[in-house]
C-alpha cells in the first residue's frame, strides 16, 4: 500500500475551459500508456480556466515525461507537480454501509470520530459523508468495511499549493509559483 502511494504523484493544471479539453487530456494518458489514479476537474474563479487535479501512477512513465507531454497540449496553460508536503489535499467520500440496530451506534461513533457526518439513514443502512485528507478517507473506508459497504463514491483528490508569505517561518522550503 505505501509502495503504491509512493508511486502516486499529484499534478495540478490550469487549463483553458474549452470544448474537448477533458478528451484531450484523457486521450493523451490513454495513447501514451500513462496511468491515471484519480482526476478531478471544475472551473476556477475565472470561468475561462478550469483546474485539474490529477493523481498519476509513475509506474507507467516518469513524472517528468507525463508532465511535459501534458504541458504540450495547447489548452494546458500551467502545469506542475505538487509536493504533498507543500500541498493542501482534500477528498470527499460518500459511502453507504449496512447498519442494523446493533452496529448503528458503533458506525456513528467511528464516523464522528473521524469528522464525518451521516447524510442519510434507513432501516438497514446508513450513508455517511467525509471530507478530509485522502489518508483519513482511507482509514474510514477501512474501518467501515467490516460492516459491509453497499456503495462508495470518492471524488478523487483535489489539491492546492500552500500559500506562503515572505516572512513565513517556512520560507526556506521550495517556493511554489502561485497561479492565480
Amino acid at each position: 500500500m505505501s509502495e503504491l502511494k509512493n508511486r502516486h504523484h499529484i499534478i495540478t493544471a490550469l487549463v483553458e475551459n474549452k470544448a474537448g479539453v477533458l478528451a484531450r487530456i484523457a486521450g493523451l494518458f490513454a495513447r501514451r500508456g500513462f496511468n491515471i489514479y484519480s482526476l478531478a476537474v471544475a472551473p476556477t474563479h475565472d470561468p475561462d480556466i478550469s483546474r485539474f487535479t490529477i493523481v498519476v501512477d509513475v509506474e507507467s512513465a516518469p513524472l517528468h515525461q507525463i508532465v511535459s507531454q501534458l504541458d504540450k497540449l495547447i489548452n494546458v496553460v500551467e502545469i506542475k507537480e505538487l509536493d504533498p508536503t507543500e500541498a493542501l489535499e482534500r477528498e470527499l467520500l460518500l459511502t453507504t454501509v449496512n447498519a442494523d440496530s446493533r452496529s448503528r451506534s458503533e458506525i456513528i461513533q467511528i464516523v464522528s470520530a473521524l469528522g464525518g457526518s451521516i447524510v442519510d439513514a434507513g432501516i438497514s443502512h446508513i450513508t455517511v459523508e467525509l471530507a478530509g485528507t485522502p489518508d483519513t478517507i482511507d482509514t474510514l473506508e477501512e474501518l467501515l468495511r467490516s460492516f459491509g459497504i453497499v456503495a462508495t463514491q470518492r471524488t478523487g483528490r483535489v489539491a492546492l499549493p500552500k500559500l506562503r508569505t515572505e516572512n513565513s517561518f517556512e520560507t526556506g522550503s521550495r517556493n511554489f509559483k502561485v497561479f492565480n
Binding site: 487549463v15 483553458e16 470544448a19 474537448g20 478528451a23 484531450r24 486521450g27 493523451l28 495513447r31 516518469p62 517528468h64 515525461q65 511535459s68 507531454q69 504541458d71 504540450k72 497540449l73 495547447i74 489548452n75 494546458v76 496553460v77
Partner: protein, 578 residues
Amino acid sequence: MELTGAQALIKSLEHQGVEVIFGLPGGAILPVYDPLLESTIRHILVRHEQGAGHMAEGYANVTGRAGVAMVTSGPGATNIVTPLANAMMDSTPLVVVTGQVPTTSIGTDAFQECDITGITMGITKHNWLVKDANDISNTIAEAFYVATHGRPGPVLVDIPKDVSNDLIDYAEPDDVSLPGFKYISEPDPEAVRQACKLILEAKRPVFYVGGGVLKSRASEALKILVEQTGIPVVTTLMARGAFPDDNPLCLGMPGMHGNYTAVTAIQQSDLLIALGSRFDDRVTGKVSEFAKHAKVIHADIDAAEIGKVRVPDVALIGECRRSIEELTRGLTESASQLSKPNENLLPLDIGDWINQINSWKETYPLSYDKSESDTIKPQYVIESISNLQEEGTIVVSGVGQHQMWASQYWKFNNPYSWVNSGGLGTMGFAVPAAIGAKVGRPDKAVWAIDGDGCFQMTAQELITSSAENIPVKIAILNNAYLGMVRQWQQMFYEERYSEVYLSPDLPDYVKWAEAMGCVGFRVDTPEEVIPTIEKANEINDKSVVIDFRTDITEKVFPMVPAGKSNDEIIVGPFGKKS
C-alpha cells in the same frame, strides 16, 4: 467588411501568405470552394485526399513553410488522416482545413458527418472546430502559428457548412494569443557551460544529428560547430543532407540500416551529442545496449523528448540552431579559459578516435555485389540517378527497401534535398510528396525513388501532375515484391513468403504512365540504366516514370535485427565480416 464565413476563410489564408492549397471539394466544404475562384491562391485538384496531404508535406519539407490542404467532411477528412499522422511523426508543419456538417446537424449521424477533431486529436499538434464565423480569422492565424512554431507539426481546422455560409463583419486577425502554447527558444546558459565541459573532455564524441537540425535551419551553424570541434557526424534518416556526405567527418546514416561506421561510432562513443534527434527505436536498437558507455547531451526544442527514451547528462532545451550556436560560442569561451599557454583545445585532440573511425570506413564501406552483370542492382540505379542529377535535385522516396537504399546510396550534399516518410513509414508517400516538393521548388528537378508496391498506392496523383503541369520523375525499383517484407520473411521467417508477391508485369507501368499523361520507360538491363536516366533528365515538360526491373533477391544491408543491440549489426549477406 461583410463577408461569408467562406470568404473570410479564403481571406484569412491569403492573409497568411498561402500561395497554394492542395485539395478536393465536396458537400460540406462547397461554400469555401466558391470564393476560391476569385482568390490569388492556386488550388491543386488532387485525385485522392491522401495525395493532398502528402503533397502539402512535400511542399512544407522543401520550403519550410506550412503546407495547406483542404478537403470535405466525412470520407474527405478520413482520407487525410494518414498524412496528418505522418506529419505528426516527422514534425512537418501542415494546416488542414476540413468541411463539417452544419452545427445544427453535429451529433445526429448526418450524411458525411464524422468527428474528425476527435479522430485527429492524437495526430495533430492541435485542432479546432469553428462554431462561429467570427472566429475564423483568429483561428486560422492560431493554426498557422501553432503549426510553424516550437516543434513544427500538423493542425486541423474543422468548419461546419453553416459557419461557412454565415455573414459576418470580417476583421483581420488579432495578434495570436495562446496562453497555453509555450516553447523555449534559448538554451539555459548553465546547461550550455556543462555541455561545453563534457565536449572538451570527450575522447570519442559523435554528433547524432536528427531532423530538428533541418527544421530549425541549422545546417550552417552545424558546419561551423563541426569545423570548430572536429567531431564526426551521423545524420539520421530524417537528417540526410543536414550535413554534407562529402565532408570526411560525415559518417552517414546510423540505425537499423545504417552503415557500420555510423552505427559503431555511436556504440563506442563516450559522448553522444544529440542535436534535434529523438532516440527513435530504428536508431537505438535495443535501448539498454545503445551507446552504453556514452554520456549524452540532448538538444531539442521539445522538452518532452528529454528523457523520453534516454536520460541525458545535459539537456539543452531550445531551438536547435540556437543550441548549436551557443555551443560554438561557449566552446570558444571555455577553451580559452581552460587552455594552458600555447595549448589549443579546439579542434579536439581526438586523432585516435578519427583514425579508428577511418579504419572502419575502409574495412566496412557500404557495398553491394556488382559481379552479376545481367541483373540490375537497385543500388546501382540510385547511384546512377544521383551521379547524373542536375545540381540541387530533390529526391523523394517511398517506404521499403528502396527507401533505405536511397538514403544509403544517394550523395546528399545539400539540406532540404531529401523528402521521405520516416516516423510513420507511409507507403505511397513518394509520388504525391514529390509533386508537392516540385510545387514548392519549381526551380529544382525532383526525382522520386519509389517501390512497385508503394507506387501502386498513390500513382493516380501523376494525373494531377499532368493536369496541373507539375513535372516530376519517378524511378520505380520494380522488384515484383513488397521487398522489405519479403526480406524479413526470408531472414526471420525461414523463407516462408506470405502475401508479398506483386508480379513485375501487372500492372504494365509504361502503359499506366502513358494513360496518366506521363512518359513511360522500361529498363530491363544494366546497360540501359544510364541512357534512360539521361533521357528522363532531358524531359522537362512532362512527368516521367521509369520501370526499372531490379534484382528480386537483393536485400538491404547492413541490418540490425529488430530489438537487437546495435553491436549485432549484420554487415552483408554473409554475416558480419562480409
